[in-house]
Symmetry: D3
Subunit: 314 residues, 6 copies
């Protein structure tokens, strides 16, 4: 495959790319042309279609497309002048080449997560988790591929399962350290805390907020998911349902971060800490991994609002 | 009826009161006695049962009880020494004598609210409102008697319907003043915005937060109510359901006031303003009505964090 | 008229525009040239005067000027090379073509506002309003044409009278809904609440903060206006003057929004709510009206710090 | 004089005191009695008038009264049973015995302040200061006796002149240290910055917020004073008036402290710093002076929200 | 031993108690008497010494004293009238009866903490920890007995070692979960993060802020401890010293919680999370353990500003 | 010298400049070139080295270099194409031509500061100041040349001594105005309050945060400096050391500005006020001095978040 960061001025290029943006514009002489952004995992390049003819078949943003064009330079940036376009067919391209992806094994992480279900003692909670992770039409299928965020932490294919597994492991560790912790509730709410993100964020390659995501948010959507599922389980205790929903609703920790309730149970509080700890430590890790500057300082993290330093010393 | 603010030292009293608090204590010589707080709408008085015998029949907090006792003074405060207690029977007392109540007609206000249903054009929203206000087992029965708060504004019998009607009337007025307002959505969400309070706050005389009220809150409970009801209505549009739930979720206006989303539609924003305006103006009105000091200043409002002045001038 | 959004490369243009910005610069070879921004209601275009000769007559920022030039392209943006300039004379141009203007009838709105004066019962307040709206040299003349803001809501010709009328109508509606409201005080302070903006913001086309606007602000200037006017009215009650000034001073609702006092009377509080409600709902309405993107989301409002959605559904 | 902190159980007392509080109450047997708080500079004592007869002449809160009574103990606190009361006549008592007073010479401090007037170069500012400090009916008379606050700093007779002189001296010192400082504006606004307190706070012994104080505040009242006075001075420059008013309006430094504008000129900024520095350092000094505990820590300052330590060391 | 919660009116009592407070007062007839607060782990009782004679030997606050007195009732509260007092001698009393103490084994916890030292790879860090935990005159002796706070979490004998061990264990668990973590730095800073509390808080029974504690705080004192110790270790890398001090300085996570720097390294961030998580989860655990009310709600936590619920359900 | 703001297209230039930035980049055809930023006190210009040969000798960022090149225009900005580079030698250039410098006499200001040492009465404090200002290897040498900030106030050569002297003079003035002020402590902590900046910020021309500056900050570094120095002085009182360190630690006034303690002594509080007052008044002065626009408004200060006006009036 010809990666975007390998394109050079003057070359021809025939390749499948993800069309991340597609605008129909009018030039000064009134002619319509297309302005595109093509993406693969190595970067993004501008492309123009100056001549709209039958070789330019119909396609939409976030489609994979096969293009035939030539590489030019405009305003010091590379630009592809495209002569032919058609939509790519499944199988012609490997999605992993086009979007950032976890470097861990998604199937294996999902299986590790599922393995927690058998450690649950409460038959109600166990059934609830099975309904959601094994039988829910959307979640059972997409959980392992989803990202955990649009642009914060774990914003890559598999990010959701990676983050969820990590939070669950931290909660497991914490569950034995304090009295009064109901391990079943803690593990289940750890596994489910971000499940609403599957409804909040659309799949890669779009990976953007859905209508419901913006209007309702993953916190509400996650609590609603528990309600819907519990309603199908005979005799599911009402108070248990409320305790689980409380963990989901309060997991951002403070009202100003979008939780309509602060954590009022020991499980809800531990879940909040574990979620916060994993998400932000991962941000630091991602920043250090991406850093290739000299010296120990890796630059300013906009999300954490601070400079980050690797702990090397001499 | 012998009201509590009419009791005088040395009198005997035989009357029905609401038992607002009931503690079993041990005196220094090891004997068990009861310490009660008796309430009617004129005030609260301490009472003691020093001798636990068969004349003291079983009862619980928030029961209405008939007592037989005598009025004494302890530490400069009146106290009733109680010799006989039994639970009151329905019909022996008029609940309105014991709890604060709206001075408006609750049936009439509820009917005015119901009248809005026929002004709704969307058959889906109309059915939704009918399901909730006419057929929901709890809400259809209790809406008109409920309070709107534990201790803020409209914290009296009928406060919920009074506040809801007022917010709906303001929203009706506003709906014609701006473009792009979907009147159906605005009126429906105004009518429903505090319906979750019926699940959040228990009935008078207790009028305290329920378990679900504390764990989940009326904002979430109200949105869940819409979901449950919409699920029963054939073909209820998903986006419409989300828009209505968004209005409920965002009606506190800001995350730090417990809304997991800020208002993003024009109806959600107007609803928030109308709710805020009615609730706080009512606080000022209640404060001015209760004020009987000399001068124009009615004292400090803890809820509004300011002194309040009536606008008299000479 | 040749509108700015209709200019095309290579055309000649002879037209009146508003000169929004005028800078005298020196080119690398030391020659002086002018860099202008020309505006009409359809947009803004850069213009250059490379040759300063007698055909370039004297003018200043915010003058209307007649230009003769040709349209070129520089750095992908249109630019007008100007050969001749003179100041436009009144009558040669229609100001409404150059600045955004309310789509409602300014005279009619102003008359509706004046009609409220006759509904006032207090002779003192009535005279005060007449002095200000009918006889104040600046306000009586400019109120109906002024904008309500530099860049927030109602920032167009006639915005002040449109916003003021709307707030007054909302206050009228609210005045009958609560006890203890002095309708005269509420209506008068609604009519006057933003009158200080006439001193705070200069007229269109400049529409920028004045020296006094920046040093003192419209809140103080509005309260000072009441003081000055009341001083001319025989026997005007001192406490009434203070109550009116309090409404003006407190109408932003909180100290951090520039009110030196929070609302302490019921009229001051209602005024604050009505002002806030109208201003922000108008922002949403303006955003939805300007939106021409596909889908229901109209983009991010910087002033409200949120995405805005129109309530369409299917 | 018999001071309140010298009263002993069983004594008779005939003395003039300040009546700080006066309530008419009804005893349990329905008889009316008076409950008073008597004050001198050494403390406060409760007093009761059980028998309302002709020996109890008419008086009001904040009157000085002559009482004849006997000292008893109730609930472990001293109480005076009063048999006779009449209003004290001027000359019978020395107000300084009843209210806290500066330990510096008020006349001398006021003269020092007046001496600054002759150092002003601008004839307009000089006249303005003379009008206010020498000829304003209220301010010229009361400035030297007023307190600077109800309960914060300098809350004693003469506190206003002491604080104002100190701020003026600091501003004088600062005025020579930076370029661009207009000394006249800085000195004048320092002298005037709290003049509005004379209208905001009533005189001792009441020393409470006036109606205007609560509705408008000393910041607005001070700016209004400048406006009124400048209006009487022929040719007073409008911009100079605005610059002086800006200094007054902004002297609390931040909107959330009640300034409707933040300091935007170098004089306004220096004034704010000097005011803040003198007020808070004085709070610390007052706290250290009042402290008579052992050890270096003088306790918690509620106003400064911290513990205060004297800097002794060994 | 006769515990304070077992005292009854009329009894004589001869027992050792901790004198938590000691005031010398003057009665109304001018006689001096002592007012004491006596404490053991079951509660606090007032005591008075009315007659100051040779049987009342000299003692100070926070001394253990042996008293001989009788139990009376004053104002409905028990009070001990004391006739004889002398200071207790070591061995006559068991300190654990007087102050709250961890229910875990302090020696064992301290040993577990020390065991971490041998897992450190860096010889510099290893020596640093040995110097502090094994050889520092104050810390090596008191660490295992100290409390972790005056009144927040772990405010009991042994609280410091319990909290420190827990934070270290969490950090150990986390150290293997993310890349770029220097385990030595993380473990060492976890062990040392609250060591400054030994200088900040005096020992039980006083357990109050020291002079240095108030002036400088445990965060600064802990960083200074590292500096002092590193200075004694030959060749201790300067950057390593800074990285360790950074972890201590930043462990409160945000400036407003008293950290002069926010965490900028991955170890500093993990330490902050682990500290916060353990401290607050412990508060919830302590609250649930102390709760003996009916129902699932354990009341309002002032420190966490929320109601706490145990996760029981039916 | 040929200043950067005098360069013109087409000229040759042979001159010494400060190399503020140096990046090695690869062109599209794979050739390596250098991209530089050259600085003198009049501005900054881009430079490119297209041909890396022996005429381009080795140098680093923040070196002074002698270049030989020609001035071209790229993308409307001047650019120097450089053919020869070598490091400049000391003596070939005058550093003051390259970095902003105080317009006051640095030697004289430093001497004025030193003169305060002889006014100190406490021999301990006197010795401490001598140790630091006369004998500390780094501070005694660099204090007079250092800047006081990276980009806030006094960010120029000599800024530290200018600011320190000014704060000390203000503190001297204040020390006589309030009781309980220990002048020695106040003067010493004023002289030392920003001494940590010498370790926090590297020298000009780099003038950037050091590793320790970012990890620990000048507040901690300054307190550590006092500790280190006091440790060398025989018998230095521990409490005095703590009082001085407290002044340094708390001089930012509030936790959220990076002070781990708020000022708790009168000296610490005065120091904080003097520091704040001088720093921010200097920002205004610098802004007014730099302003060359027409009119009285000098623009928006990002650091003070407000517009600044000079107090001219007519």
């Amino acid at each position: 495959m010809k990666y975007i960061n390998e394109l050079r001025e003057g070359e021809s290029v025939v390749e499948h790319y993800l069309c991340k943006s597609r605008q129909s514009l009018k030039s000064r002489n009134g002619k319509t042309y297309l302005s595109l952004k093509l993406q693969d995992k190595t970067g993004i390049v501008d492309a123009k279609v100056w001549d709209m003819n039958k070789d330019i078949q119909s396609f939409a943003e976030n489609d994979f497309i096969k293009i035939d064009g030539s590489v030019t330079v405009f305003n010091n940036d590379l630009q592809v002048n495209v002569k032919r376009i058609r939509r790519s067919m499944e199988g012609e391209y490997d999605p992993k080449e086009y979007v950032p992806t976890t470097d861990k094994n998604m199937d294996q992480m999902f299986q590790q997560l599922l393995d927690y279900i058998n450690t649950i003692e409460s038959p109600y909670i166990k059934t609830l988790l099975e309904e959601i992770f094994l039988r829910h039409p959307l979640i059972s299928k997409e959980f392992k591929y989803h990202s955990a965020a649009k642009s914060m932490h774990h914003s890559f294919l598999g990010g959701l399962v990676e983050h969820t597994l990590s939070v669950t492991q931290i909660c497991e560790f914490m569950s034995g350290r304090y009295q009064f912790v109901d391990r079943d509730i803690l593990i289940a709410s750890a596994m489910l805390h971000d499940a609403g993100k599957i409804m909040e964020l659309s799949d890669f390659p779009e990976n953007d907020y859905t209508d419901d995501g913006q209007l309702l948010g993953h916190i509400f959507l996650g609590a609603e998911l528990i309600k819907d599922t519990a309603a199908k389980i005979n005799g599911f205790p009402k108070q248990l349902e409320s305790l689980l929903k409380h963990c989901i609703l309060s997991h951002h920790g403070e009202l100003e971060y979008g939780s309509p309730k602060v954590p009022e149970t020991i499980e809800a509080f531990i879940l909040h800490c574990a979620d916060n700890m994993d998400a932000k430590t991962k941000m630091i890790e991602e920043m250090l991994a991406a850093d290739n500057t000299q010296g120990n300082w890796a630059g300013f993290s906009r999300m954490l609002q601070r400079n980050i330093r690797r702990s090397d010393y001499k």
